[in-house]
Amino acid sequence: MSWQDIVTASPFVVGVLTAAAILIVDLIRPGKTPVAVLTALVGLAITGLLTVVVGASVAAGDTPSTAFGGSYQVDALTTFLDLLFVAVIAMTILFGPDYFLPRGLPIAEFAAILVFAMTGAMLISAAADLLVLFIGLELMVLPGYLLAGFHKSDSYSTEGAIKYFLLGSFSSAIFLFGLAYVWGLTGSLRFNVIAEHLTTMATGAVALSPGLAIGLAFLTTGVAFKIAAVPFHYWTPDAYQGSPTPVTGYLSVLPKIGAFALILRLFVEALGPLADWWLPVVIVLATITMTLGNLVALTQDNVKRMLAYSSIAHTGYMLVGLAAWAQDPGVDGIGALLFYGVAYAFMNLGAFAVIAALQKRTGVTSSLGTFAGLGRREPIMAILMTLFLLSLIGIPPTAGFLAKAGIILAAVEAGGPLTILAVIMVVNAAVAAFYYLRVVVYMFMRDAPSEMPALRHGGLLWGGLAAAAALTILLGLFPTGLLEAASEAAQSIVGQPPT
């Protein structure tokens, strides 16, 4: 370990230090929410800044792109994802206090655990090695289990947590089994060596050996659990519904995008040479994931649960981007996936934040009825929710629309079965409109059963919501910068310019 290593990995290191700082500050000034939040935000700001600086420096060649003996790497993808992770965590911290304080839950622990999870995701995005990848994955998901049960006196919360934990650990074991076999066959944990090895294997006359097939199958299953692809999605609804709402928002975004980062690093970078073999699986997974997610979401009367199923559907859409790349490496499906990830992150976080805001009054459920008459009671909140929902449907000019268009374009470019997948996707998007708009119906077209006074929301919440809303609109209107960044990030692992 040298100084140079630390410099290259400085965003990660500062992330860890931020988490530690929050805990220390909380030890010194216990229970002081503003102090904890401020510490967290400052730490995250430094992390984000360092991410940019290191990214630029690596791109310019001033800093080595790998560290720690080649197990850690920084490229455009790392920078892109890390910035997204920082933004997601910062927003989640903003949304927390309004929900947690009325319930007597501590903010400092919440923020610290969140930041730990973020460092896990950052490690995934920077992994160049299977072991680092696995440990990053665990560092990302373990805090997630804890956060799901953060409202520990609430039986829903702990129930969601135990289910999330058990299935998560189960899938980790499965995933690890696959890793072991890939390692055993290729003899290396480094992505580039594995890829080389597999390329010779794939181009050689030797067919997919049964051992590798098993490894691939276990890896795919493990990852499918992590991204909650159907039929490995059982844990999602309960975990999402049970968790405290700001945590639900977080769970629906960061671990999912983190798992996609893992897919990019593992399946695209390391196992890319086997793309022909895993492509059919991805196509099938994408199809059933989006279809089933949407169909079940249609039947839900609890908005949190509905959004949980809808997030499953969004996973399916993102998988289409992956499939497009696997089908035709000349297509920038990965770039489309990354763009979708960003758009999804902000619109979904925003939607959950609105639910969390409504639940500031303890005892308020997330059922559809909660939203009745919101348009009259809290018009701004209702309009923001509408915006996020429209973006989730994919109505222009929102980020969600361009994200969907990008994925569809990639699928159309890839051609073949992907064209059919694109059509399935748009039909799904239309079906999805029905359940998203139901919320709008309740907000604007139904009256509340009893007149409740409007809630007063904190400045942090408003700030976070404003940021999410602004990003949802601005990325829809001026997507060029993000598109280029996503495309550049994709190139850094795919290794060839998209046509």
Binding site: V412, V426, A429, L437, V441
Partner: protein, 548 residues
């Protein structure tokens, strides 16, 4: 200052948005006036388009271009030809009329209503002006949301069902259209060494299509996707079922805009995009579309004949009238296309006016059941006169504008297939019968008990209501006498559009289908007439009170 340097199209398109933003921050009491002011201002500026547009020049005018998403060659590109200009002016005209007409009926959430309406106007104008397929799609979808809200929030009792149906129908079609737009762009891009430049630019694509750039397979699939989107919007039979529900539940102004402008989006899409981009597919499908149009014409008229509800009657008559539009487009003759465009505008004026008139009576009675009406002429003479004028216009009375469009379509159709023209002609007569039947029921005879019970509430039209109808009526008369004013305006569009379609291969309409339709019409009409004579008179329970 050079006139061409003013981005007039952008101003026209986004002026209502500025109004919406102002309303959003202004106190609610100012909402109505601000909305009307901005709608009027937009109308006035759009008139400059009419003045500034030079007919006879090929291509688009007032074109504005800016890069938007250069990575994919997506541009912000607006431009207008005669068709666009006339439809934009129709939109801006009806927008302020609709806003004025909603002053009284809309009493709740006025601010949100006016914002929705102005955003709706932005979307509609944008659709007519966009020259980038991606931008077109965006405006197309923007239209959806405010209309959804307008029906869903300020609509009638069954509004949520109607509005959901409206959205889902439209969305299914439009999303497939998105796939088609992207596929087309990609086909262009892969035909140009992977360069995205121009892949979404309408003019470039049209030129490329003209050289036979797009493969037949792509054309067929893309055309089908566009067709679905546009056919749902028009709406063509059998995609029309959302329309009566949406109309019935929408507030008056919503119905007006829906009928007058929204339906035109589909027809406009056919003329602007579907035909020039996929000419060979258009030819392939033309016979099917013609038959569907004939069915729509017949079906709409017959169903309208038996509607007990005034609004549903006008809604179904729209299906019939719009059938003439699609018929005119797809016979690929000059008169047909001219007639179709004329019919679009006339239908906008006349049906818009009819919905306004239904709204007037609904305001006073909170009921639209034809059977409860009768003898209005005694209490509301002005209303009955105005109503009569537009009913006659809608029925196609020569001398009023409704006649010219349908007549031209018939002439155009006759060139291709006399039988088809015969079917359509027959329906024109039928249309006259249902409209006149309805008019007679409502206007003449004894004052019905229901109306008598309303007493002094049944006042004649107010000056504001008359004001909303005067411009429409004037135009109906002008275009009825001088259709050339309009025809000159979009002569260029007609010629350019038809130039794309190969004239060497005339459209073959399946004769069996046409004759079969003719037979069905006759049978159905006889059956309906018989039923109308024989059936027991329906009795209507008083429902009482407003639906909303």
């Amino acid at each position: 200052m050079d006139v061409n340097s003013i981005p007039i199209l952008t101003i026209v398109t986004f002026l209502p948005l500025i109004g919406a933003l102002i309303i959003a921050v202004a106190p609610p009491s100012a909402a109505r006036a601000t909305a009307l002011a901005f709608a009027l201002l937009t109308f006035v500026i759009s008139l400059f388009l009419l003045v500034g547009y030079l007919p006879g020049r090929p291509g688009f005018q007032f074109v504005e271009t800016a890069d938007w998403i250069p990575a994919f060659g997506i541009q912000y590109k607006l431009g207008a030809d005669g068709l666009s200009v006339s439809l934009v002016v129709l939109t801006t005209l009806l927008s302020w009329i609709a806003i004025l007409a909603s002053f009284k009926p809309i009493q709740t959430r006025i601010k949100e209503y006016m914002i929705s309406f102005l955003i709706l106007e932005v979307g509609m104008i944008g659709v007519f002006l966009a020259l980038d397929t991606f931008l077109f799609y965006i405006f197309w979808e923007i239209v959806l949301v405010p209309m959804y809200l307008i029906i869903g929030i300020w609509g009638g009792a069954n509004r949520i069902y109607a509005t959901m149906k409206f959205v889902l129908y439209t969305l299914v079609g439009s999303l497939l259209m998105l796939v088609a737009i992207l596929a087309t762009a990609f086909a262009y891009q892969s035909g140009h060494d992977g360069a995205w430049v121009g892949a979404f630019d309408f003019e470039t694509l049209k030129a490329y299509a003209g050289t036979g750039g797009f493969a037949d397979g792509l054309q067929i699939l893309a055309f089908l996707a566009f067709f679905l989107a546009f056919a749902i919007k028009v709406p063509m039979f059998p995609f029309h079922t959302w329309l009566p529900d949406a109309h019935t539940e929408a507030p008056t102004a919503g119905s007006v805009i829906l009928a007058a402008v929204l339906l035109k989006l589909g027809a406009y899409g056919f003329i602007r995009f579907a035909l020039p981009l996929y000419p060979s597919a258009a030819e392939t499908f033309a016979p099917v579309i013609i038959v569907l149009s004939l069915i729509a014409i017949i079906y709409g008229a017959i169903v309208a004949l038996v509607q007990p509800d005034l609004k549903r009657l006008v809604a179904y008559s729209s299906v019939s009238h719009m059938g003439f539009v699609t018929l005119g487009i797809f016979v690929f003759t000059e008169q047909g296309l001219q007639g179709a465009i004329l019919q679009m505008i006339n239908h906008g004026l006349i049906t818009g006016a009819l919905f306004l008139l239904v709204g007037v009576i609904y305001e006073r009675t909170h009921d639209r059941t034809i059977a409860k009406m009768g003898g209005l002429s005694a209490k509301m003479p002005v209303y009955v006169a105005v109503f009569g004028f537009f009913v006659f216009a809608s029925a196609g009375l020569p001398g009023l504008s409704g006649f010219v469009g349908e007549f031209l379509v018939l002439v155009g159709t006759f060139e291709v297939d006399p039988y088809a023209a015969a079917v359509a002609t027959f329906v024109m007569v039928l249309a006259a019968s249902y409209l006149l039947y309805m008019y007679g029921r409502v206007a003449f005879g004894e004052l019905s008990d229901f109306l008598a019970g309303l007493g002094d509430h049944l006042t004649d039209m107010t000056p504001v209501e008359i004001l909303t109808l005067v411009p429409l009526g004037t135009l109906v008369v002008i275009f009825g006498i001088q259709p050339g004013l309009l025809l000159d305006l979009f002569q260029g569009t007609v010629v350019e559009t038809l130039a794309v379609v190969d004239p060497a291969s005339p459209i073959e309409i399946p004769q069996a289908a046409v004759i079969g339709l003719l037979a069905i019409v006759l049978i159905l009409v006889l059956a309906r007439v018989g039923w109308a004579i024989l059936r027991p008179r329906p009795t209507f329970e008083p429902e009482g009170g407003a639906a909303h």
